[in-house]
């Protein structure tokens, strides 16, 4: 049983942190489920964790894991009520509705020009509005994590043509993703956008006479990506092996068997189960205007009646196709598989906290997945809480944490300062281009395998040499490195997002939709040290190294602020110089490798 060694940087609260290290080692020693052991080994109860952050930096660290970036208000609240109560409070917040956001934008656009649509941008804007201003931060952060496990993508042309339904998919993840995993799996499996994306919508049963076979796409990916993964897992997430080879969870026969289950599902339709409804989503000119997001319906005549065997279970042959019964049985079986807890739990840890959780951390989260303490399996709120409350989530070492997702680098920046949106829609738009933007847009992964793989190892890196995976490094390359720096340079100077002409101070100016208020920073422009200290608190949570601070203070100081002359005629130059100092200080902070890693 490998024990994780944590190298702790000297900082405040050092004694208490070492106590936590000891706790984690204890867990590792007794709770991890040794290789070859029973996967149902009980996990030792976790000793009580520290209930409140010791200081604002601690609070900010937690909020980088649980939100789109800490704000002063969130830090205050968390300091006041502590981790557990804060999480519970977040779970109780009313949910953002991305579909409602999209519909509001769409209606406003149509009121000007009936041919216009909020389009894909409406989805991104809603994401950013929720990320920057949403009260339900934790829920939306979890939605973003789930959207990278249960992936649909508007890079697919058909999915991309249904942005309202994609917004609904995000709402479905928010609803069921903080409910029970079994319902989440069903919500995902029956959502028409998933049906379009992984092609089980309109999938037909085999025709043994001609040799036509069911589409195997969803059957394969629901196992590989959404539930159990390729390999049998110990309860701590390590791969079970036999003779040095990983034990596989399924084979081609399982896929063929499960593929039969995902036949006969298609659009919601007024004339269900009419054949034309199955094929076209409409019959006799009637279709359901909400068919893009209403759960897919089973069409018995297209559902396989054959016996369906997979993963050691068999759904008996049916006299008449019963898609509902088949689906229920199949999803029950998948959701009950012992792999689900460690497989989904580890990926959620990787999305929220750290790329390389210890086996003990995974085991603790998997144990909560298996039983929330009240005998309920798959309680997602309990799983999220366990992930965020685990002692390992509080530890900082040279190998802990994760490369911060490009989207999260921007969101933390937008939340650190008062930003406002001229349109009120938060028109950040598509940020796909690695050369000019983030190289990552929410709901636009390149494939169902997401922007990156959980097991990605970046070749030739220190992380690789240390045996660490680094999922987010899969999209880090020379172009994206430069593109991010240039994008942030301009975001700081000009604001973020699409440009529009807006009335400001009695005149019309054209500017980007998201505009910052750097008043507090501008007030410190003549005190570079104080300015950088403020940014250290805002963006680096007090962890800025002394040499980085010196470097930034030096660069900021080198920008001369002319003395204001007696007539005040050079006020504009003075203002520009002050703004350039603020720009430079923020820029040099957010482009630092330190900022780009969530520790």
């Amino acid at each position: 049983m490998p024990t994780q060694l944590f190298i702790i940087r000297p900082r405040r609260g050092v004694v208490r942190i070492f106590a936590l290290v000891f706790t984690v080692m204890l867990l590792a020693a007794c709770g991890g489920g040794s290789p070859g052991g029973d996967s149902n080994d009980p996990v030792a109860p976790v000793p009580a964790v520290v209930e409140k952050p010791a200081d604002r930096a601690q609070a900010a660290r937690f909020l980088t894991q649980a939100t789109f970036g800490p704000t002063d208000a969130d830090i205050d609240r968390l300091m006041s009520i502590g981790y557990s109560a804060w999480i519970d409070e977040q779970f109780g917040k009313p949910a953002t509705s991305h579909r409602a956001n999209w519909e509001t934008q769409d209606a406003a656009m149509k009121s000007i020009d009936a041919t216009r649509s909020a389009g894909q941008d409406g989805v991104y804007n809603s994401f950013w509005k929720a990320a920057v201003t949403g009260e339900d931060q934790l829920r939306q952060r979890v939605v973003f994590a789930l959207s990278q496990i249960f992936v649909i993508s508007m890079q697919d042309a058909t999915v991309g043509d249904n942005p309202r339904a994609v917004a609904d998919y995000m709402d479905m993840l928010a609803d069921k993703g903080l409910g029970n995993y079994r319902q989440l799996l069903e919500g995902v499996s029956r959502h028409p956008m998933m049906g379009v994306y992984l092609s089980h919508l309109r999938n037909r049963k085999a025709d043994p006479r001609t040799g036509r076979v069911p589409d195997e796409n969803y059957a394969r990916e629901v196992m590989q990506l959404f539930s159990i993964g390729l390999h049998q897992l110990e309860s701590d997430g390590t791969v079970k092996q036999n003779g040095g080879q990983p034990l596989e969870t399924y084979g081609q026969a399982d896929i063929a068997g499960l593929a039969k289950v995902f036949t006969g599902f298609s659009w919601s339709c007024p004339s269900w189960p009419d054949n034309a409804c199955f094929s076209n989503g409409s019959a006799d000119g009637l279709s359901d205007p909400d068919r893009g997001f209403k759960p897919m319906l089973g069409y018995p005549q297209y559902h396989s009646t054959e016996e369906k065997s997979f993963l050691g279970t068999t759904i008996a042959a049916q006299g008449y196709g019963s898609p509902e019964a088949s689906l229920t049985a199949a999803l029950d079986h998948l959701a009950a598989h012992p792999n689900v807890g460690p497989f989904i739990g580890k990926q959620l840890i990787q999305r929220l906290v750290t790329s390389n959780p210890s086996p003990a951390y995974v085991a603790a989260v998997a144990a909560t997945f298996n039983d929330n303490g009240s005998g309920v399996r798959g309680d997602m709120k309990a799983v999220i809480k366990r992930i965020l409350m685990h002692p390992e989530a509080r530890l900082v070492s040279a190998k802990s944490g994760k490369v911060r997702e490009p989207v999260m680098r921007l969101s933390a920046f937008l939340r650190a300062f008062p930003f406002s949106s001229d349109s009120g829609w938060w028109r950040v738009g598509n940020t796909d281009n690695p050369a000019t933007a983030l190289g990552q847009t929410p709901m636009r992964a390149p494939s169902v395998f997401n922007f990156w793989r959980p097991g990605y190892v970046a070749p030739g890196t220190q992380a690789s040499a240390a045996g660490l995976v680094a999922p987010e490094m899969q999209i880090a390359q020379e172009t994206s490195a430069a593109g991010y720096v240039n994008y942030m340079r301009d975001n700081i100077a000009f604001g973020v997002g699409a440009s529009a002409t807006v009335p400001v101070n009695g005149g019309n100016i054209t500017r980007r939709d998201l505009q910052p208020d750097f008043a507090a920073e501008l007030a410190l422009a003549e005190q570079p040290g104080a300015l950088v200290d403020r940014l250290n608190d805002k963006l680096m949570y007090g962890a800025m190294a002394a040499d980085l601070r010196t470097e930034i203070v030096g660069a900021v100081s080198s920008i001369a602020i002319p003395a204001l002359n007696a007539t005040g005629s050079n006020q504009a130059q003075v203002n520009t110089a002050k703004r350039n100092r603020v720009n430079a200080a923020i820029f040099l902070t957010v482009i630092s490798p330190e900022y780009q890693v969530q520790k």
């Binding site: 043994p208 076979v213 390149p446 970046a458 390359q477 172009t479 490195a481 340079r489 920008i559 490798p593």
Partner: protein, 515 residues
């Protein structure tokens, strides 16, 4: 600054030192040392590049290269003509029946004439006219039937035996992408392009330009020591500063930016790794800035001259979209335009490369449904991009120096699911270049069988497994080793790079498609 670009000499010395140390132990590494000397002694000025053209998603090569002899074509037609949308392409000579991408609209497949037709007849997808010419007339295109990852030669009987070694995680996208590139599943860190680079980088002035992606990160390009360098299809992106070297009007800020992004102060591994990427970004861009500016895409050798060049409207980068009948931008061609510009610049002192590996890619091949609409477009883009690259290489006098090969996650099922195909294994692939013995097939073309009464196991074909997926008869190791031999690698180096090559007889380790 920790990541220096002019490291190839140092790397060579380290490499040689390692080998000397290991030579004392004896064994094949002693041969490696000699082989390295041989490679290093190649004539000055000799330049070669290998380009991997990866089709992400798993290309349905069964509809790309087709056997048209009566028996094969009849079986193909029977199996692929399924409701609701037949994906069975039509026989050579069938006239095109209107617009769109249905088999009837596309018209018949395009016959080709391999030098050795194996007693059969063959054709290409109807939209691949450019490749028909390159195969039949120019003889700069070869076809490798039924290639895929294999541990060792595998018969259909052996496929059914658990004891027979087979590649891990067959039929899984991400794993098979990795295995094609590196022989290991997800998590792999060394690919065979990068390993070739390791062994030949001593021929290059700067190791950084040995291995270049114009697409995303690709493990194929990473070696033991070689790191991939990624460049956008438009060129290297300058980080931070404007043309005057300023950020927010300040050169001091620009200088601080360069220092900050290239170093890690905290000692966190991820910070160091990000800093290394930024260091390569800044240093490589400073080297490429002038050489690429001297070879702009508006240069008639690479594109169409224009005052305000826009790649999206350059006629040379437009393919004929079979779905619309209109021209459309082909991003794959633009990636290859960047490869051609870099090849042309390879002898410039800023680059100084004599051996390079490149990676370009095109996605969208996972045609589980709507295959007719999507696959024809992909085939049109592939054919156009390959022809564009061939023409451009001719314009810069590099046709004989550059060899491109296609790769993909896997082939697809022979059976249809009604409007698409599912994950398979073996697939037909192309190799292209002036040094390729074009106009022929290398390897036996598989037999396409008939459906059994009870299932889709195709018992009458030794080349097909469940749902008619192809059981590969040529391995990725054999493909790579044949390319590697042309590249200048020795037998022992090839055995070092290609872990399964040893399982094929000496005579089978060179497929013979390279001059």
């Amino acid at each position: 600054m920790t990541d220096k670009i002019d490291a190839s000499r140092r790397m060579f010395l380290r490499h040689a030192g390692t080998m000397t140390a290991l030579t004392a132990v004896g064994g094949p590494l002693a041969l490696n040392l000699l082989a390295m000397g041989t490679a290093s002694a190649q004539a000055a000025g000799d330049y070669k590049a290998i380009v991997c053209l990866f089709m992400f998603g798993g290309n349905d090569s069964i509809n790309m290269v087709l056997p048209t002899d009566a028996a094969s074509f009849a079986n193909y037609t029977t199996i692929r003509n399924q409701a609701p949308d037949s994906i069975a392409l039509l026989a050579p000579g069938t006239p095109s029946g209107g617009s769109g991408t249905s088999p009837a609209a596309l018209g018949g497949v395009l016959p080709i004439n391999p030098a050795n037709a194996q007693g059969r007849s063959f054709a290409l997808h109807p939209v691949m006219g450019e490749l028909q010419t390159m195969f039949d007339t120019d003889k700069r295109l070869a076809i490798l039937p039924n290639v895929g990852p294999l541990i060792m030669p595998t018969t259909k009987t052996q496929y059914g035996q658990n004891s027979h070694p087979k590649p891990k995680s067959l039929f899984s996208h991400n794993d098979q992408q990795n295995i094609w590139q590196s022989f290991l599943p997800e998590g792999a860190t060394k690919g065979w392009g990068g390993r070739m680079g390791d062994l030949l980088a001593s021929m290059n002035a700067r190791s950084v330009f040995t291995s270049i992606s114009v697409s995303g990160n690709a493990v194929w390009l990473s070696g033991e020591n070689i790191r991939q360098y990624q460049v956008s299809a438009n060129g290297a992106i300058r980080m931070g500063a404007n043309a005057s070297g300023q950020i927010y009007g300040s050169t001091a800020v620009a200088a601080a930016m360069e220092r900050i992004v290239q170093a890690s102060r905290g000692g966190h591994v991820f910070e160091s790794d990000l800093a290394a990427v930024s260091a390569r970004s800044i240093q490589a861009e400073s080297l490429l800035r002038a050489v690429l500016a001297a070879r702009p895409p508006s240069d008639a050798r690479f594109g169409t001259p224009a005052t305000n060049y826009n790649p999206n409207t350059d006629p040379k980068l437009q393919y004929l979209n079979p779905a619309t009948g209109a021209s459309a931008f082909n991003s794959l061609a633009q990636q290859l335009q960047m490869v051609a510009r870099l090849v042309d610049a390879s002898s410039a002192p800023e680059i100084g490369a004599r051996r390079q590996v490149f990676f370009v890619s095109i996605g969208g091949f996972d045609t589980h449904d709507a295959q007719n609409a999507n696959h024809a477009q992909l085939m049109a883009r592939l054919a156009h991009a390959m022809r564009y690259f061939d023409t451009t290489l001719a314009a810069i006098g590099a046709q004989d120096k550059v060899t491109a090969f296609t790769a993909s996650d896997f082939g697809r099922t022979f059976t249809s699911n009604g409007d698409g195909t599912d994950h398979g294994w073996g697939a037909h692939h192309f190799v292209m270049g002036g040094a390729v013995r074009g106009g022929d097939l290398y390897g036996a073309f598989p037999a396409y069988g008939t459906k059994n009464a009870n299932d889709n196991n195709f018992d009458d074909s030794l080349d097909q497994i469940g749902n008619g997926s192809l059981l590969p008869t040529t391995s990725v190791d054999q493909l790579g080793a044949t390319l590697g031999r042309w590249f200048g690698l020795s037998d022992s180096q090839l055995l070092d790079i290609f872990p399964n090559l040893v399982n094929w007889n000496l005579s089978q380790r060179n497929l013979g498609f390279m001059i």
